[in-house]
């Protein structure tokens, strides 16, 4: 059994069955990373190119480790060290990569739709590792995996996403992913951070954070970028923290079994207070850990690995 799609470009490119298969496979993959020898031979002889046009630590290392744990050869390229600095176009770059016969191309790019452009021009499966403000499907998958681990099921849960929804690919993919899997989603932010056209997503919208987290099973905080101040999206980090930041006082009104997530990197003291980030409800590091498992699952499923990976 494999995926119904060649490329993983965004959540809509996956069927419900694909999502379940990936989450199920990831759960099985997770154990490999806990072995004394953290490597299985499943994808021996396969090659993965991790193409990062945009800075990334967590995601890049995660894809890299996922490949290595399955014995695939992984090559990582970042924008500064590639021919784009010499003016080569994206299509030329990936066509050159393609003839070196990789089995999967992973791409992170600052332009929405760049992975779609790549997928149209190469015959190699493409995984979107984050494109502009558009999508970050592997993040949504690892977030869903993390919630499933704790709650058993996603169906019927209430997810609150707080922060710059308009400019967040994590928010987009999670709104699509969680609603597809039967959760209800509420987003909370100042109106400057809610995109016009939010009705494209089947979510509730509020500007009142307290209301959003009151009945939430999961609270997902998004990083606030200080440079957004220049775009007049908020007044000061101080006021933002006060109105839309998550802290112990606001948490008092949340459910007693609430889960707290954040895709990182954290802006401690702005959108999340340090005590909450490191506190008992926080799943922030579980998310990172599961990221490796989800990416292993994708590589496995996309490169036709055999089931003996579970051995």
């Amino acid at each position: 059994m494999g995926l119904s799609t060649r490329d993983v470009l965004d959540i809509p490119s996956l069927s419900d069955g694909d999502i379940r298969l990936i989450l199920d496979t990831a759960q099985k993959m997770k154990e490999i990373s806990k072995r004394p020898v953290k490597k299985v031979p499943t994808l021996r002889g396969k090659t993965i190119v991790n193409f990062f046009y945009e800075p990334s630590t967590r995601t890049k290392v995660s894809f890299d480790l996922a490949a290595k744990r399955l014995s695939a050869d992984a090559v990582s390229i970042s924008a500064g060290s590639s021919s784009i600095v010499k003016g080569e176009t994206l299509i030329d770059t990936v066509r050159n990569l393609e003839v070196m016969q990789p089995d999967v191309i992973v791409i992170r790019h600052s332009s929405a739709g760049a992975p779609h452009l790549v997928a149209r021009h190469v015959g190699v499966p493409v995984i979107n590792a984050g494109d502009g403000m558009h999508a970050h499907p592997t993040q949504a998958l690892l977030d869903m995996m993390t919630v499933m681990e704790k709650k058993g099921d996603i169906r019927g849960l209430r997810l609150a996403i707080i922060g710059d929804i308009a400019r967040s690919r994590v928010a987009r993919s999670n709104m699509e992913g969680f609603t597809r899997m039967g959760a209800s989603v509420v987003v909370a932010a100042p109106p400057t951070m809610i995109p016009r056209g939010i009705e494209a997503f089947d979510v509730d919208v509020t500007h009142n954070m307290e209301a959003a987290i009151a009945d939430a099973d999961v609270i997902m905080m998004l990083r606030i970028q200080n440079e957004r101040k220049a775009a007049f999206l908020f007044s000061t980090p101080r006021e933002y923290a006060k109105v839309y930041g998550l802290n112990a006082a606001k948490l008092k009104n949340a459910r007693s079994d609430v889960l707290i997530m954040h895709p990182g990197p954290l802006n401690r003291g702005v959108e999340i207070s340090p005590d909450v980030a490191d506190g008992e409800f926080s799943l922030i590091l579980d998310q990172v850990e599961n990221g490796v498992a989800v990416r292993m699952a994708l590589f496995f499923l996309m490169m036709g690995g055999q089931r003996h990976a579970e051995d």
Binding site: T89, L90, I91, H109, S111, A112, G113, A114, H116, L117, D131, G132, M133, H134, A135, A166, R169, R172, P195, R196, G197, I198, E199, A200, F201, A231
Partner: protein, 432 residues
Amino acid sequence: MLKINGGRVVDPGHLDGVQDIIVADGRILDIVDHNAATAYDDGISRTIDAAGRVVVPGLIDMHVHFREPGHEYKETIATGCRAAASGGFTAVCPMPNTDPVNDRAQVCRFICQQAENSGVGVRVHPVGAISVGLSGEALSEYGDLKAAGAVALSDDGNPVSNDQLMRRAMEYARGFGLPVISHCEMLSLIAGGVMNEGIVAARMGLPGIPNAAESVMVARDIALCELTGAALHIAHVSTRESVQLIRAAKDRGVPVTAETAPHFFMLTDQAVENYDTNAKVNPPLRAETDRAAVREAVADGTIDVIACDHAPHSVLEKEVEFDAAANGISGIETSLGLSLSLVKEGGISMERLVIMMSTAPARILGLDSGLEKGAIADITIIDPDAAWTVDRDRFISLGKNTPFHGWELTGRAAMTIVAGQVVFDGTTARTA
């Protein structure tokens, strides 16, 4: 002598019936009842069978980009003219955003000369720049530009952001009897936007351009038009708010005119789905409510002109990331076919189409248009029933960037005649 035989002759306001047109020495010698014996019969050297065709004053596209000088790999004046002729146009107005900019007589004369040298025959009436280098800092020499052939002024591609410069440009242009064509776009409201703001942009994660980015400047320019009394023409109207502003201004007698492009009445921002850069255009394709408002404005006369904003680009500008892609649609070869679909659907009459594609642009720019005895014989013969499929690979234009590739259209130019000379003949030019 040339005889255009048995076509439905439509010249808004005074002709609509099956008649024969006799052309001699570049002018219309006479228009006579079909099959009536005339004194000219012995001198006819060529008879064009126009049965089932619509014979109209030569079409004028007052908003094209021919890329020469400076970007000849995208389009030259020669290729642009050939494409225009095949699209049914006898005259076109290239915008000044070339390199160098058409902000001086030498460039203007060069453009006219290249048109002449092309031998195509399509009339080229350049639009001069409002400001030197399109930089919005100093006025170009309008008198010189006019003497060199410019028929209007515009900084198209760039808005005129400096309100005072726009006021003075309108006043100064009025002194030369030149209309000012405004590309309305508030750059501070664009703020990195690359498509229409709305549901599609929200889903695609692309920064959006709100309608207000256009309508705020439309409102400013209407106010300046009232202040100065200059002839103002609003380019490529895309939003319902702009339509409302223009309609209200016309109602109180402001001398404003406006154009829209076929893509604004044919498409919405849904065409951008899957990051299709061929549908990336500025202003952007809008929502269905805007498309409906533009259609209504085309029908009721609020929008005076259909001009396609022909903007040819090569794959270098289009086969790239969406936000890095150039704006523009290569439209000169599809403009008539798309506009005829409005006639076919009953949205507008054939007469209204002719007004928008010939009579009105001629009036705004001070050019000739009309089918009457003694008039210059600039004539387009339309086959309203020809079924054809848009195929970008068969475009004459070097710009293959169209979101209409594969569309099945009904109606196109059968023949284009400038000053009595056939500059395009569909029966010989097209093999299918």
